[in-house]
Amino acid sequence: MAILELRDVSLQVNSTLILNGLSMEFESGYVQAVVGPNGAGKSTLASLIMGLPDYRQYTGDILFEGKSIKNLNVDERARLGITLAWQEPARFEGLKVSQFILASARNKDKKEVDRVLEMVGLEPARYHARDVDKTLSGGERKRIELASILAMKPRLVMLDEPDSGVDIEAIDRIFEAIDYLKKDGTTVLLITHSPKVLEKADQAFLICHGTLVDQGKTSKIMEYFRGKCLPCPHKNVPEINSAAIVGGKI
């Protein structure tokens, strides 16, 4: 069953078409990836699904659990269970890690902060009182953002380039957190151009220039990373079964 459905979604900014008639269905409870080269429109797609203010003027429709969310603001979408982890998480001067996590947590008990920090491999006693600011490394901020999402227990989470700017140990912890989310029944949407991240997905979509190029099992989409597509100006796309693309259902 699709938890999220895009119906012929296009977004034009000034005179540039960023997303071009995307129709996609994301299955509930799976880890799915949207892959494509830089500038393909991946992050734009995530921002648009989240309903960020600069991405509201799209055509087509987005359905969450069968209902249109087109007229909902960011917080209204979040309260339905949709959330987004940014490629570069925001810094919050003066805001403690525990405050930041509790702000989104369903369970407001401080033990919940410990629980989710441990899940992302951060020692609670060392991080509770730290500020979510520039004193944390990029990898620490990513893990703290993920901890806040684990505490939120969303229905659908979009992780934008979850491996960017993090070391190998942090990547492993982030991958573990993705496993926790999946186990909890959260649908995970990975926005990535990394084969290593793509490996975590059950299914994947390839987009390029705002257009859906292919979709299917991860192993199939992985082929595009093996020298045939990226960067992807369409001309070297391997034998696409164009009929399979139409309709956009895996």
Binding site: M50, L52, P53, N73, V74, D75, R77, A78, R79, I82, T83, L84, W86, P89, A90, R91, F92, E93, G94, L95, K96, Q99, A103, S104, D131, E145, S148, I149, M152
Partner: protein, 308 residues
């Protein structure tokens, strides 16, 4: 009667349950000294004036006061003037920290004027935390003026916080003059609402080699509140280092103005400044809203962080 007033003042700053009379302290209501306690090496000489109190505080050479000295300046009536004149001397190699509470819980028309002369001796250490508790009426006028001399290797830090109740008017003017190896830190965190007015002037003159100063001002204004911040560091000596940091968040029809002045008179000195004024950062806002907080809840949390 006096004990009741002490209790009322302490209650207004949430200290009535935790306050220990053996703690070094000075408690003043209007122009009346209600209670004081000094410890070895700390000399406090308060003198009642017609409209306030003059207090001489001295920490003797080499004495390290173990626990913070509590200062409570209150004006419990709805109207009145309180003039506090402080003459503070921290002798060489002495150490002291102050925890000050200024409380005007019933203020309808109150004026709190503070004049301080502070001298921190060689390698002495002075820290002062000041929290204000105002009524919701917004009719408090706070005018603190401090002149601080820092001798060689002296450390001075002060932190001013006004988050509870309405500001009314605050017009602050602090100046430090630092000799070689001294350090000065001045922080102010204030939340202005309605038609509050916030004027802050903090200046540090780095006269001695290797002297340092950091001026940090974090302000939030909403409704029709206004803030004007004038922070200045002048570095005269080699290896003097200074930094000015001013962040202001405005909402509604609030107006904020920041004028950081940095002047360097020695090629081996270095002073930096950063100022950011504007509405709440959109990425911070969107992050919190994407976790389910309403816009109002998210803004409150961001401001709470900035002013923490």
């Amino acid at each position: 009667m006096t004990e009741d007033l002490v209790e009322e003042i302490l209650e207004s700053v949430n200290l009535h349950r935790s306050f220990n009379k053996d703690t070094p302290h000075l408690i003043i209501n209007a122009n009346q000294v209600l209670s004081s306690h000094q410890v070895d090496g700390l000399i406090m000489e308060p003198e009642e004036l017609p409209d306030g109190v003059r207090a001489r505080l001295r920490v003797k050479k080499g004495v390290k006061i173990g626990s913070p000295v509590h200062l409570c300046f209150g004006l419990l009536p709805e109207r009145g003037v309180q003039h506090i004149i402080m003459d503070i001397q921290i002798e060489d190699e002495a150490e002291v920290s102050f925890m000050a509470h200024c409380t005007f819980p019933n203020a309808v028309n109150v004026e709190h004027l503070m004049e301080a002369q502070i001298k921190v001796g060689r390698r002495a250490w002075y820290s002062y935390f000041e929290r204000h508790w105002h009524s919701e009426e917004g009719m408090v006028r706070v005018v603190p003026v401090a002149r601080i001399e820092l001798e060689e290797g002296a450390h001075f830090s002060t932190e001013f916080e006004l988050l509870k109740g309405r500001v009314g008017l605050i017009d602050m003017d602090y100046l430090t003059v630092g000799q070689a190896g001294s350090s000065a830190e001045m922080k102010a965190r204030i939340f202005g609402r309605q038609d509050d007015r916030i004027k802050i002037k903090e200046a540090a003159h780095l006269m001695g080699e290797g002297s340092r100063a950091a001026l940090t001002t974090h302000i939030a204004v909403k409704n029709k509140a206004r803030a004007e911040i004038n922070n200045e560091i002048i570095a005269e000596a080699p290896y003097a280092r200074g930094h000015v940091d001013c962040k202001e968040i405005i909402q509604d029809d609030g107006i904020a103005r920041a004028v950081p002045v940095v002047e360097v008179r020695n090629p081996k000195a270095h002073v930096t400044h950063e100022a950011a004024i504007g509405s709440v950062d959109s990425k911070q806002l969107q992050t919190l809203m994407s976790r389910g907080l309403s816009e109002e809840e998210a803004i409150d949390l961001i401001i709470q962080g900035l002013l923490s």
